[in-house]
């Protein structure tokens, strides 16, 4: 008998989610990061409701209001954070920009995860020639820097199909390019995890129980690779958002009509020294805080996602 046996009737239904949540309650920094991140997600979801102006309406853009300073400098109650070069309310644009940036980041990383996960699992579990082939493909893919691939693809697309088509498909293109360019990162980590896991005895035990290969991969090995995946997931989303911002800054990302955070920073950049600092600074702060919080969360998850470390 286990002498540490807890009294009966006390709910012993401990799940991993609870482990993580209870650990989080004790950690103020992690809780803070989670709250901020949740706030960002909420803002992204509810941008149309929260924004003081509708970005799609015709009178939203009014050049007469261009480059108005924030409320506390002008006393103009209409624009809390001032306006940008096109006369748009900066607060509204930032809310919509956050929504765009997060969507692109999350979708791009989901593509990375799906591609990288499948390839990593197959490569690690089957091994042999397939593994050699897929990993060389990953090496080749990684030898081109993401930004280079993205710039070339987006620039070629823009010139081939013209600006009008590009503006319509910009978001989709960004998601695809950022998604496909970085699959090897997931593939490599997952392959390494699978390699470490597949020789463990519980896999043999599952095989000896007659569990099929596919089920062993998906139900037994994959859950054991979740913690590293979640860590890279958060950091990769942050990276994708930064990459998107950088591309937009270079003029290859989102069009000025529907600016992401990066596009906003870029549009304000030229006015930075003429005194209109707010156009760049507010979106930059929004972006920096988001990335900071996501990195914090990623690190924290890495420390706490191990059920053995969290249990007691």
């Amino acid at each position: 008998m286990n002498i540490w046996h807890r009294p009966q009737g006390v709910a012993e239904h401990t799940t991993r989610v609870r482990h993580v949540l209870s650990a989080m309650r004790g950690d103020k920094l992690a809780l803070f990061a989670l709250c901020i991140f949740a706030l960002y997600c909420l803002v992204a979801l509810l941008a149309p409701l929260l924004a003081p102006y509708d970005v799609n309406s015709v009178d939203f853009m009014d050049l007469e209001n261009a480059e108005l300073a924030p409320y506390w400098q002008t006393g103009d109650g209409r624009f809390l954070l001032g306006t940008d070069t096109q006369g748009r309310d900066l607060l509204s644009v930032i809310l919509y920009g956050t929504r765009l940036s997060l969507t692109i980041g999350v979708c791009a990383v989901l593509i990375q995860l799906l591609m990288g996960g499948t390839i990593g699992l197959l490569s690690g579990y089957i091994g042999g020639r397939l593994d050699a082939f897929l990993m060389r493909a990953a090496d080749i893919q990684l030898s081109f820097s993401t930004m280079m691939v993205a710039i070339v693809v987006l620039a070629v697309f823009q010139t081939l199909f013209g600006n009008a088509v590009y503006q319509q498909l910009a978001m989709l293109m960004l998601i695809l390019v950022l998604g496909i360019a970085e699959w090897p990162i997931f593939a490599r980590i997952i392959r390494a995890c699978v390699f470490a896991e597949k020789d463990k005895e519980y896999v043999d035990a599952a095989r000896v129980l007659g569990v099929s290969k596919v089920r062993i991969m998906l139900r037994h090995i994959l859950p054991n690779t979740v913690s590293p995946i979640l860590v890279i997931l958060t950091i990769q989303i942050a990276n994708a958002i930064v990459a998107e911002a950088a591309l937009s800054f270079l003029g290859l990302g989102m069009p000025p009509a529907q600016p992401s955070l990066g596009a906003l920073i870029s549009s304000g950049f030229n006015y930075l020294f003429s005194g209109a600092w707010w156009i760049s600074v507010f979106p930059s702060m929004t972006l920096i805080l988001l990335i900071f919080v996501m990195n914090l969360l990623g690190d924290w998850l890495r420390d706490h996602l191990n059920p053995q470390a969290a249990g007691g």
Binding site: N2, H5, Y202, A205, L209, G210, P223
Partner: protein, 334 residues
Amino acid sequence: MSLLSVNGLSVKFKRRNGDLTALHEVSFSLDRGERLAIVGESGAGKSILGYALVNLLSKPGYIAAGSVQLAGQELTQLNAKQWQGVRGKRIAMIFQDPMITLNPVLSIGDQMVEAIRSHTRIAYKDARKLAIEKLAHVRIAAPVQRFDQYPHELSGGMRQRVIIAIALLLNPEIIIADEPTTALDVTIQAEILQLLKQICLDNGVALILITHDFGVVSRIAERTLVMYAGRIVEQGPTLEIINDPQHPYTQGLLNALPQMALPGQRLNQIQGSMPPLSEHPGGCAFHPRCPYAQDKCREKVPGFVYSGVSTVACYVVEDMLAEFAQYDEEDLDV
């Protein structure tokens, strides 16, 4: 007809300059409900034999020759799909270390339900009921609570019980237990062994117990098979072998038990150690360590003879038997 019959099973490991032989023509049989122990030092090929029976040899290893028949069905010819129907359902396996045999990120219940559902189409509720029933059967307290716990929340003994429960889920005909108690405390060992034996008796399951510990063997197995360097050297009823070991190697093993030495005395040991796979000597593989080794031991592998106690592969025993037979004849002549 016996439940499992193994004939001339050879296992080799692929290597660039010539394959290594890990098992040399192993033959034995197992009846329904019989408890058989396979004994030998590390490297004798016990575990390889266990893995070969369920076709789980890892990569360079392969079955080079021989047959394994389960109730008349040839197992070595099965494809991957057919194996899935045999493993778990007809032959279950229990591994050495319960700390690493359970998947750390799935709850006990998930793992059990998973095992049931990969063989039979059954609703989650029914699978859960069956799993809890089996947990109770291996005498785990509060099985309903345990069902939702994770492996790290259980002690080593408890985990081994869970593993036995998992092995029992699909009512297999044979359980292969590869050193099931080596990783456990001595007190827990006795409990687990008792449990294993009881379960085999209750359900009519045959057991193949792989171990290096004669103490364990004597408590559980009806029949014992002693292995050395990939060969069976002696097999027979456990009690007879323990009371009157025939092969010098079996004698050495039994002599090495701590109980055999007097207090204050050095423990007995067999001189030398098991040769690595690549350096198996010719003739009887045990001859370099055997106190009775003769010239012919170095030249040819001895065949099996029945000594009246057990079946042994040893020239010394063979010669002795021949001598006895001669005396008997002389007695008759007079």
